[in-house]
Every structure is written in C-alpha cells, then in structure tokens.
Assembly symmetry: C2
Homo-oligomer: 202 residues x 2
C-alpha cells in the first residue's frame, strides 16, 4: 500500500481487515470506516466476539470438529448418533453442510485440510492418526469419504481408503453425479460421465 | 440464517462478520474460520485494532476529518497549508483521494454524507453549519466542491454553493471530463458532452 493519509490507529485497523482472505485494501477501508461508524457498544461486541470465539472454541478431542464444550463435542456425545459410521470431511464447514442435508446420522472426523504437495501439506499435517486410532479400536463399520470432489480431495480420499481398509471397515465415497436442480446442458463432461457410470435402476 | 451447527461463540462471530457491508453469510463464515485459524496473538491484535481505532479516532473539530490528535488535525494545524482554500468532500476517504493527487495544498471540510432525501439525510444531518462558520469568519477565498459527480453529490454541491456565495468566497466545482488513461469509446454520453463543454485551448 502506498503512502496513506489516515491516522495510525485507523491505518492499523485497515491493515488488519486487509489481512482477511478475499479482502483487498479498498474493501478493508470500507470495513474500517463501517466499524468506526458503529456505536461504541457494537464495536465492543465485535471485538469481544473475536476474542471470545478464539478463547472458547477448540477442536473436539475425538472428531476434531470445532466445539466449545469441554470433552467431546455434542455430536460425539449424542446417544442418538450411529457410532458405527464415521464421515471424513476436510473442514469444519463441511460438517455443517452434511448436517444440513439431514440425511446423515453417524459421527464425523475432520481432517483440517487435504493432502496437497503443492502447498506442502502431507498426511502428517492432517488429523489422520486420530482417525486411524478411532477405526483401529473397532466398532466402526463404515467410513464415508466426504472430501471435496477435486484433485486434492480425491487424492486424500484415495490415500485414506488405502490405509483404512486393513482395519476391516467398509470405506465408501460420496456419489458423483449431476447436482439436483441443475441443467444437463451445463454439466461438465467429467460429471456427466460419472453420472452415467453411477446410474441406478429406477 | 437457517439452523446452523456451529458452537454459539463461533455463530456469534459469524453474525458479527455478516453485519459488515458487502459480507454475506458464506463470506462471514470464511472470515470467522480464518480468524480462528490465526495464532492467538494475531487474533488479539485484530480485536485490539478494532477497539483502539474506535477509542482513539474522532472528528477534527475544525474540518471534521477523522484524526487521532487532540485539537485540530495535522492538516488543519500545518503551517504549510494554504488556509485560504477549503475543499469540501463527502467522506474522510475522499480526503485521502485528494491528498493522493498531490495537487491540492489547501484545507478540507468533510460533510460526512451528502444530502439524500431518499435516505432521509437533510442538510442538518451533515457538517454544514461548521463549514458556514469557517467561511463566515473570513479569510477563505475559495471553496472547492469535491463531492461525487452523481445526483446526490451534485445536489449537495449546488445547495452549498447557494448558501456559501453570500459570504463572498469563490465557489468552484471539480472539472468534469474524460478520465486520464481511459478510452473515448467507453466514455458515457454525459461525460463526453461535459468534456466537450469544458474543452480548453492547447
């Protein structure tokens, strides 16, 4: 950023906003001005929400999903959940997506990333060891790979399925196909061919 | 937002981010996850920058620009500045834009808005009274209207020029024309006709 003419405290706030992903200098200025325009009480709420979230939220020791409870997270603790199935996702927000479907009633395991040699992320940088421990204890009948259907998600799912299979649990992958509500004409080749491949009798 | 599955502290942080202008729920989630992924020290810095900016920054009692200094802001206090000229802008960020041009050496007056009947903003909601006081004291030879060249900025400039003229100061408006570095073919009709109107001998 070239020379600016803001007071230092404002400059600092702009800098902080500009560090957020997807926020450029112009947006950061807009956000900073917005925060300054808020009543003091709301500004304090904002600052407190940041510190509080950071202090209170940590990873569930079992599934590694974000939680604010001591000990295992509500999903891991719930007696209504099917403890024989583990759904493996890359990020906590993927748990939210799966929960939204209201179709899944098992447990989760959050890897906190995918294997990505380009970004120097290897298997040891992910929560894979704790997944292996959960499966090795026994009682897990199915592990569903729900990483993203992109190259890295795919590679991670392949890798995990290879090291999980010796434990005897069934390893499955989410189905590929045309998204519900979409148009065939806009589906890409790879998706269409996967949808054909996975066709089912009606 | 429909039912979510985040811990309350995270939910609250997402809500706070979603209140920022131009940030939707999805972006707010992304920002919240980013903040959680920061080291604690950096999170604290972020929260502190917000509170500090809000506490330290206020309007200059003379020009109404944002400042962190007690008394008048550095521009108003500077002996190098031409005190006979006042440039009237709508927002503090417009001061930054003007300063960037390195062409202007006078003082400023920040209105903190423009007259906008649609948004229930009248002359009394802007810092117009303090501008009149500055001009009425005397010594001001020129008032440059540098509000945006849109309907509301235009109307505000017109209104101000009418009430400022009785004080005897020259009231001017920034020139309209084709932006430097742009292409004629992309200039809109209004801009081109203003550029023609304001043509100057070479």
């Amino acid at each position: 950023m070239a020379q600016t003419f803001f007071p230092p405290a404002l400059e600092k706030l702009v800098e902080q906003f500009a560090r957020l992903p997807g926020v450029g200098t112009k947006s950061a200025q807009r956000l900073a001005f917005f925060v300054l325009s808020l009543p003091e009480e709301q500004t304090r709420e904002f600052a407190n929400a940041i510190m509080n979230a950071k202090t209170v939220i940590h990873c569930c020791p079992v599934c590694q999903n974000l939680t604010d409870s001591d000990g295992p997270c509500p999903i891991c603790q719930s007696p209504k959940r099917d403890g024989h199935t583990i759904c493996v996702v890359a990020e906590p927000k993927d748990v939210v997506a799966m929960e939204r479907s209201r179709e899944y009633n098992g447990l989760y395991h959050v890897l906190h990333g995918v294997i990505s040699p380009m970004n120097h992320v290897g298997p040891d940088d992910l929560h894979i060891k704790s997944l292996l421990e959960r499966v090795s204890i026994g009682g897990v009948e199915e592990v569903i790979m729900a990483t993203n259907p992109d190259t890295e998600g795919e590679a991670t799912a392949m890798y995990l399925s290879r090291i999980l299979k010796p434990f005897g649990a069934k390893v499955t992958r989410l189905a590929y196909g045309i998204p519900v509500g979409s148009h065939l004409e806009f589906a890409d080749d790879a998706t269409l061919s996967r949808a054909l491949e996975g066709r089912r009798e009606m």
